[in-house]
């Protein structure tokens, strides 16, 4: 267990990535009770948006200059895609049975994947994404990749900003009200359609930040990257208590830690030597989800609330 600090650090970094994406699931669910299964693809198009900005810059641009522009481009593409999805795919189904928007979300997810696969140049294979140059650095016994610096800085900043927005601004309070009781929110004069668009847009912006972080970490983006990442983030959102933004981040961190620790140590347990290593990490993540759903179905921070009347 001498590498425990390293495993914990790996878990937290991975968890921060899951948490950023989980925000998108949880915000939309909190407002319209929809699992937006296309959210993974909102991440993916953000990654390609950022890549496009990078490729458009003259060669030799330092990454410190390129990164903000890539972020802006990614956020723009993700947000516009999510807002368009809300307007044209989900809003017409607002009063339909809940299965209809769910199936639409899956359809939209396939549509976006195929759109990028078919029309983005050379997207049939993974496209190379820039990395933050330089060697890994050490903090005590922990080694951190330079590319992860982006995530280590961006994830807490994003969460602080979101917490401030939701509790301290007028729109944030309107968002809380809409998630607790949409009809009554209207009676207060809150334009709930606008709040729904806002929830999609904020989730998409976080998705784009996550996409850039993912690209930097893995050195590539591809049209399928949103699938597993989205599924993990959805798991994180449920783990934390879907609808709760702090729960999404906490669920992300918990999932990241569980994955890192399981990958690192489970093969040392008696009789488990076949189940360790990276190949099994997704399995352990979903085992955790199943356990949580069995023991605490409302999630870590979720409240046990009866369905809205």
């Amino acid at each position: 267990m001498h590498d425990l600090p390293q495993q914990l650090a790996n878990g937290l970094i991975l968890g921060a990535l899951y948490g950023l994406v989980a925000i998108g699931y949880t915000m939309v669910y909190g407002i319209v009770q929809l699992i937006n299964f296309a959210h993974g693809e909102i991440v993916m198009v953000g990654g390609f948006g950022a890549l496009t900005a990078y490729l458009a810059l003259p060669g030799g641009t330092t990454l410190w200059l390129a990164l903000p522009l890539m972020l802006i481009a990614g956020i723009l593409v993700s947000t516009l895609t999510a807002v368009a999805a809300e307007r044209f795919a989900y809003r017409p189904l607002r009063n339909a049975p809940r299965l209809a928007p769910l199936i639409t979300a899956i359809g939209l997810s396939i549509f976006l994947q195929q759109l990028v696969f078919s029309f983005y140049p050379d997207a049939k294979k993974a496209r190379v994404f820039p990395k933050i140059p330089g060697d890994p650095f050490s903090l005590g016994s922990v080694t951190v990749q330079r590319s992860d610096l982006f995530l280590i800085i961006a994830a807490p900043l994003c969460m602080l900003a979101l917490g401030w927005f939701v509790t301290r601004t007028r729109s944030g309070r309107a968002m809380q009200a809409t998630s607790q009781d949409p009809d009554t929110a209207k009676l207060m004069g809150i334009d709930t359609d606008r709040i729904i668009v806002m929830a999609f847009a904020i989730g998409a912006a976080f998705a784009a930040v996550a996409a850039v972080a993912y690209g930097l970490r893995s050195g590539q983006v591809d049209f399928r990257m949103g699938f597993i990442l989205g599924l993990k983030a959805f798991t994180a959102a449920v783990l934390g208590g879907i609808g709760n933004i702090y729960g999404a981040m906490l669920g992300g961190l918990a999932l990241g830690l569980a994955e890192a620790l399981a990958t690192g140590y489970i093969q040392h347990l008696p009789g488990m030597h076949l189940f360790g290593g990276g190949a099994w990490k997704d399995v352990w993540a979903f085992v955790l989800l199943i356990l949580v759903l069995l023991v605490r179905p409302q999630g870590l921070l979720g409240e046990r609330v009866a369905d809205r009347a």
Binding site: Q180, M188, G189
Partner: protein, 238 residues
């Protein structure tokens, strides 16, 4: 005596089922007007239509000289019509003060809002004592006070109260009813929906009796209170 709200031949349907079948009534400035009737008479449907949560299939709603039929719900409160819904519907995970402030969501006069929050606390002192408490932890009667206080925060020209005494203890009901009298005395126009016909009619200037989506009887509060059929049907007398 001017009409603040004029409802003419209003019809509302849920899908193919018509819940309100062509009702007409008038709310005059400064008065308390009551709709009474049994469950399913269409009273709540009527209020939800007035505040824009439901859309009429036919008829006219004229409020303060403006046609409401096509105005979206979130714009109706800005015209001066506030609705304290049936079942209170306070925001449970927000504090009492946050609930009150949401009632003033469209106002921008910070000083006026602060003054009105204090006014709500003087109307309902218990709310002031618990201002930082989550609204979901309040008792039913306290939640009703909060719902009324919140509706008043928009400084409405017309306050609509849907079943404010539902499920309350007799003592709490008395408190709510006396508050309605107090609000009326301070010049607030009120449209009240109540199952407690006795209490409601005795403080109302005007009343309408609804049955299965229609207005079957109307008159002053006192008239209805003494009307034989009303006494039989709603006041439990033979």
């Amino acid at each position: 005596m001017t009409a603040l709200l004029e409802v003419e031949d209003l019809r509302v349907a849920y899908g193919k089922i018509e819940a309100v079948k062509g009702i007409s009534f008038t709310v005059h400035q400064g008065e308390v007007t009551t709709l009474i009737g049994t469950n399913g008479a269409g009273k709540t449907t009527t209020l939800r239509t007035l505040s824009g949560l439901l859309r009429p299939t036919a008829g006219r709603i004229t409020f303060d000289g403006q046609d409401l039929a096509t105005v979206p719900a979130h714009k109706i409160v800005a015209l001066g019509l506030a609705h304290s819904p049936e079942g209170r519907h306070i925001f449970p995970r927000m504090t009492i003060e946050e609930n009150l402030l949401l009632g003033a969501f469209l106002r921008t006069d910070a000083a006026g809002i602060a003054a009105d929050v204090e006014r709500a606390y003087s109307l309902f002192p218990i709310l002031g004592e618990r201002r930082r408490q989550a609204a979901g932890t309040l008792s039913g009667g306290e939640q009703q006070m909060l719902a009324m206080g919140r509706a008043l925060m928009s400084q409405p020209k017309l306050l609509m109260l849907d079943e404010p005494s539902m499920g309350l203890s007799p003592l709490m009901m008395q408190k709510i009813m006396s508050t309605i009298v107090e609000l009326k005395a301070s010049g607030t126009t009120i449209l009240l929906v109540e199952q407690n016909a006795q209490a409601a009619l005795s403080l109302s200037d005007r009343g309408y009796v609804m049955e299965t989506g229609r207005v079957v009887l109307s008159g002053t509060g006192a008239d209805l209170l003494h009307d034989e059929s009303v006494r039989k049907a709603y006041l439990g007398e033979d």
